[in-house]
Subunit: 488 residues, 2 copies
């Protein structure tokens, strides 16, 4: 591995910059602009300009495209001011969810790995103004803060750029970044990484200096995730996953020397990572090539278990952020933050033989997964990067609790009411009850494995009845469409 290059400066602002207030920067924006905002995993998003827009007494109809999840300044304050008309590709607040589900905000949920191209090629919206958070800025460069996300593509695509320099984010964050912009099709070069922690770019994003219309200073902290403590079910899922990984290392020759994991599992993540610190991996190198870095990964790095962690965002708790900020020297050699079109690249996920572990709201007996919609209608967040990993991983695992709402609702159902990941992609399902390895199984065999090993025992008789009734009528994947949703 090449060591991290130094960020270009040791000061926050360098050169002749259009420094102004958030209010003045906001006032200069067209009321129906498309804003391309930094941020992923609830960190590294602009805060001051969105708040100034929310407070402005103007009639706004903005399109807001973010990297991934952003905080309340955008998806609560700005959104509740009525300023947002359209929103891509992911949202993660209660206010945004309500607005999207009521139809007040038009939302399209996209695979985040492909979003940079969709923006760069004007395929979903034409980007006008990039508004990005940085730890430092010069006349033609900026250093992103706690997430890289889609910032490089956004900055390149926008005709105008507003930078928020956030003094609450350590300047040293630039030491984590590896900014590489893929070239365009039809002569796109292969991404040049040969290892998950290769550095192939710069610690900063460059731009045409003519674009830079405003630099705003702020010291407002991210509003990062609040993770709950793992439950007994989380620990049980983690143990089953640990057992599965132990077996898989033995039988899958791609894993004979190196295991590269990805986790997109929210609250479950820290239990999984704690479990990982206990399993025997022999002489193998353990790496992480994913989308977000959670607190548990820091533990694994500390313990010397994890050789490297590559992601697009530091989706840490407030404690985790603090810990990383205070030990940047320690982490800079093992942690790399990349643009989302590199962290979630189908080619790289395949190249490194990633074992992906992602969650879902529900799975069905034939192995389809719903990550996004309750009752087929109400979206929670979005598909995020789960599809990038489920589709391209060497082994894709869906890990979820078998029930929701204190056990009253089964997450294993006859047919999911919305499909984000198909039967062609999900290899393994893990719940607190066990592991269903679906590889090579016909749909009827999959149903048996999922019901008997993963469903809550209390609902197994009902699921068996459904399968019996549907199966009597025949079919490769027997369904009784007249009653398939009566279950609810």
């Amino acid at each position: 591995m090449v060591g991290p290059a130094n960020p270009p400066v040791d000061r926050r602002l360098e050169g002749d910059l259009p420094v102004t207030s958030a209010e003045r920067a906001a006032a200069g924006l067209d009321g129906s602009a498309t804003l391309l905002v930094s941020g992923f995993g609830s960190v590294g998003y602009p805060k001051a300009v969105p708040l100034a827009l929310a407070d402005a007494d103007r009639d706004l109809s903005l399109t807001v495209v973010s990297g991934g999840t952003v905080g309340d300044e955008i998806d609560t304050d700005l959104l509740e001011s009525g300023a947002i008309e359209r929103r891509y590709p992911y949202q993660g607040t209660e206010a945004a969810r309500d607005a999207v589900n009521s139809g007040a905000v038009a939302y399209q949920d996209r695979h985040v790995g492909g979003l940079a191209d969709e923006v760069a090629f004007d395929l979903i919206a034409e980007g006008d103004v990039a508004v990005v958070e940085a730890v430092a800025v010069g006349e033609d460069w900026l250093v992103p803060s706690t997430s890289v996300g889609q910032t490089p593509a956004f900055v390149e695509s926008a005709s105008e750029l507003i930078v928020e320099v956030n003094r609450a984010q350590p300047l040293g964050l630039g030491r984590l970044h590896d900014i590489y912009r893929p070239s365009d099709p039809p002569a796109r070069e292969p991404l040049p990484l040969t290892e998950p922690d290769d550095r192939v770019g710069d610690p900063f994003v460059t731009f045409d200096p003519e674009k830079l219309t405003a630099v705003v200073e702020t010291d407002r902290r991210d509003s990062p995730y609040e993770f709950r403590d793992p439950t007994a079910e989380d620990w049980a899922i983690a143990r089953h996953l640990g057992d599965f990984l132990t077996d898989e290392m033995e039988r899958n020759r791609v894993l004979s020397e190196r295991i590269t994991l990805q986790f997109g599992v929210g609250n479950l993540g820290n239990a999984l990572m704690s479990e990982l610190s206990g399993i025997d991996i022999g002489d193998r190198t353990l790496g992480y090539f994913g989308e977000v870095i959670q607190d548990g990964l820091l533990d694994l790095i500390e313990e010397g278990r994890l050789a490297c962690a590559s992601a697009t965002s530091l989706a840490l708790s407030a404690d985790g952020q603090e810990r990383l900020f205070e030990n940047l020297d320690r982490y800079a050699s093992d942690v790399v933050l990349r643009p989302t079109d590199v962290s979630n690249s189908p080619a790289l996920i395949d190249r490194f033989g990633v074992v992906g572990v992602n969650s879902a709201l529900e799975v069905d007996v034939y192995g389809h997964a719903n990550s996004t919609h309750i009752n087929g209608s109400n979206v929670i967040n979005g598909v995020g990067g789960s599809g990038d990993f489920n589709r391209n991983a060497l082994v894709s695992v869906t890990a979820l609790r078998s029930t929701a709402r204190d056990g009253s609702v089964s997450r294993v159902v006859p047919m999911v009411s919305h499909v984000d990941h198909t039967e062609h992609e999900i290899d393994v399902i893990v719940t607190e009850h066990g592991v269903a390895d679906l590889r090579g199984l016909s749909p009827r065999e999959r149903a048996d494995a999922i019901v008997e090993r993963c469903a809550d025992p209390s609902v197994r008789p009902t699921l068996r009845d459904y399968l019996k009734r549907a199966g009597d009528a025949g079919g490769h994947m027997p369904h009784d469409l007249d009653t398939v949703f009566d279950w609810r």
Copy 2:
């Protein structure tokens, strides 16, 4: 482009080979073997050994893994003899469909682009014996015939190899082949192609000579597809697609110099390709990077419209085969046949900015597509490569007739009964009535576009009623699960 290398020989058999009869080769097989058979697009599959197995008076329980579609010798004769217990990853005969839907044969339908890895790494089944058709064979090499399919991976993975040398297939077919085996993760090298028609491998497959247990000679022809003539609806779809492509060339900067298309559309294909010969592409280069080469592509090559065609199979009609066989010199400079993990590589589909056009059985008002299952239960063929292209294409188009069964069944429905391609992947839907460009639209907007532009006018009132009723209850993607399948 580097010109095609010559095949290694001008004779069918070279060296000291274990030539034997199909019957003796078949008799040497274990009754519960996993057979990895060549063939894709209904051509290039072994014929004599499967027929000998079908005729043998033995109790067989074989697992048969093919590249893609194979002919009746395997999926009718051998299957109806009761010899096949498991089948991957695609089937295309009435006999196989019936056996799979009755549960008599256990079938798992996979994305064909990922199958080579799944076999090589023993992820779905452990391959025992590769049975492949060739136009020529030596002690440690073979030249595939009318399809390359998964043959290189199958030959590498199997512990035993049986080669059928087919004298009915021209020896010159080797001039079309470019055989490249991707290296394994976690140190997988990027595929080295920079243009759709680059040649980066050999015209032959090499193998460990110890594996070769039998060489069988045959002169049995492929049983290729029978294409019907385009209907008025097919022509209307083709015209709408032509209009869409004309517009897209102007607005999508990736297409400013080169357009690379893929078609996975069966009977519709020849109408689309005929339409293509009429549209104005300016100075652009037109290329094809797909899975199968259909007759219409030969016309485009003849006309000088198409610079190159890359695929894994010559899925031609009998007439098309004849035409290609008689003009191999002409076509060898413009047609390349590759392994399926190269033809359908996510990285390459992305790298070349492919515009993919695939069909479906039905689509729903929110833009999900069902390519495989009738009423959610009965599989027709399989997902094939449609998912590889829909997911990774620059623009993914689903083209289908708005109705089935002489207009009595709408192919635009409230909710598809099986999802193979999600709302996150389908960019554009085209029927004989028009084009719905879904990019950037919220689900409610997508529903409006699909119903008003693509559904048959006779069913629009019913679909509007459904959307009104579901929409009144709210939701990002409003559904009324109590009545969503009443439509049928």
